[in-house]
Symmetry: C2
């Protein structure tokens, strides 16, 4: 127990330099401290804060990275529009006891002439791998950099981005990285909407339609609990439930194996119902895992 | 100073388990020890031993990995024929003070269902990237695994495989890995032949022809020292020098920028003359760096 632990969050440090972050992480590891990293794109909501609260309990040093990774956005996507508010984020992080905010600039994350990518195969081919072709070229690569810079013993990802969580787990496993990857359940608004930084894009009249995702997941959960295992039957109900709302357009609604991310036609063991739905000009994702929970 | 350091090499430990290696490396890092890794495919010659000798001086814990990586061989290449002699390697490593031999089996290096690759771009497109299309799909990925398992502060690569050395340096830099990559000059037989485990493939009548590589490099060095900078002129002499020998077939003879590995037409600053030559059924490589030495 160190002095720092009595004043959780009051010593929050913002680190921008890669070398400084590595040196700090290294010195803490040498002291035998457990480092936990929550990688984020900033603009915190309760979902982020819940990841940090779990991180606070799991480790001695809690690091949060804030970086809107340009590489994982396609030119048509919302990279420049993506909401940012560092001062607000800093206060919120302080409130839940974060020790370090790692906030690099692009030059350090992508050195001049950079040309190295990390390709994770099968698990990235379905779902968002189809609708967001750049996404899985950016995510594993930047996660790697954060792991090499912050040197965490454990890292926490939200399961709202279920495929991202599976991809990171796969990469860590395949490349023998000595890091525990923890997946955390989705935090929701009181009415069920999954928390997302992108919810601020929703127009007032679209807010009701955004509930179509969580409502259809509840419906699917109910069908599963009544014994339904046929994917075709469940997806038909899910699609109908979503498209009953105005302003919506389904990008995908699929049920996949939780390890391979391949479509299944019948639910045996664990499977994930993954949704991506446009509500007006906002693309929202959500999911429900059938079977044993995989999260904490 | 620990007891172990007084008896360099006498406590050589062979470690096959990934988890055990990671735990051992982690405990040494925690003690503040510097770990140096020499990654190899085994079947040691003086070249390997020189890398280890440098490693012995650079670090507190000297690790050597032995792994013939199946992924970097094309089906037509010599994966199964590649020479192996673990007991001999172990004795040689002991003799130069190696602390750990990490000797994993394939199942641990490539976990079931593995699907993650590391792609380094531009620097892998030329030279061996053309003649050995699988090579640079395997090398960065397995180097990563070794880095995550042995957790070195520094790693030593021979510059005989110059493009491999540049590729690893590029990957480490691009992914912000906190590892120093050291390139070491090529060790040669008394007559100039670059040491290689593949030299055992050479038939007695081919041995003389194998000298065509180092002879042509000497010739190029001489031309450079006389002020010649035109690549076309130097390569013409090099090619003539090589093809004067029987049994040879040039795979490539090119002069490239040492950072981008792109062909240059005029030597300014550092450049590398890289050779790959078939001597009978044996493919040999060698190179010479013009300008400031990059090795130790």
């Amino acid at each position: 127990m160190t002095w720092g632990l009595f004043f959780k969050g009051e010593r929050l440090e913002v680190i921008q330099s890669v070398k400084k972050m590595q040196a700090l992480a290294e010195s803490k590891r040498r002291e035998g401290k457990k480092i936990v990293l929550v990688p984020t794109m900033g603009y915190f909501h309760e979902g982020h804060l819940n990841l940090m609260r779990v991180g606070r309990n799991q480790g001695d040093c809690l690091a949060v990275s804030i970086y809107v990774n340009p590489i994982q956005f396609a030119p048509t996507e919302d990279f420049t529009a993506y909401p940012r508010d560092f001062d607000r984020d800093k206060k919120l992080a302080e409130g839940v006891g974060v020790d370090w905010i790692f906030f690099p600039d692009r030059k350090e994350m992508y050195p001049e002439g950079y040309q190295t990518y990390v390709e994770v195969g099968e698990v990235t081919n379905n779902l968002c791998g189809i609708s967001r072709p750049r996404f899985f070229r950016g995510v594993p690569r930047s996660a790697q950099s954060f792991f090499h810079i912050v040197k965490p013993h454990a890292t926490i990802f939200g399961q709202k981005d279920f495929q991202q969580y599976v991809t990171i787990k796969r990469m860590v496993h395949d490349l023998n990285m000595d890091i525990e990857v923890i997946g955390m359940r989705t935090t929701r608004e009181p009415d069920g909407l999954a928390m997302s930084s992108r919810n601020v894009y929703l127009k007032p009249e679209e807010r009701e339609s955004a509930l179509s995702l969580s409502l259809s997941l509840l419906l699917a959960k109910g069908l599963y609990e009544q014994g339904e295992r046929r994917v075709e039957v469940i997806l038909k109900e899910v699609r109908e439930c979503i498209t009953r709302h105005p302003y919506v357009k389904i990008d995908y609604a699929q049920i996949c194996d939780v390890e391979t991310m391949k479509d299944v036609s019948y639910i045996e063991g664990n499977a994930v119902l993954a949704l991506a739905v446009w509500v007006g000009k906002t693309r929202l994702i959500d999911n429900h895992v059938f079977g044993e929970p995989l999260d904490i």
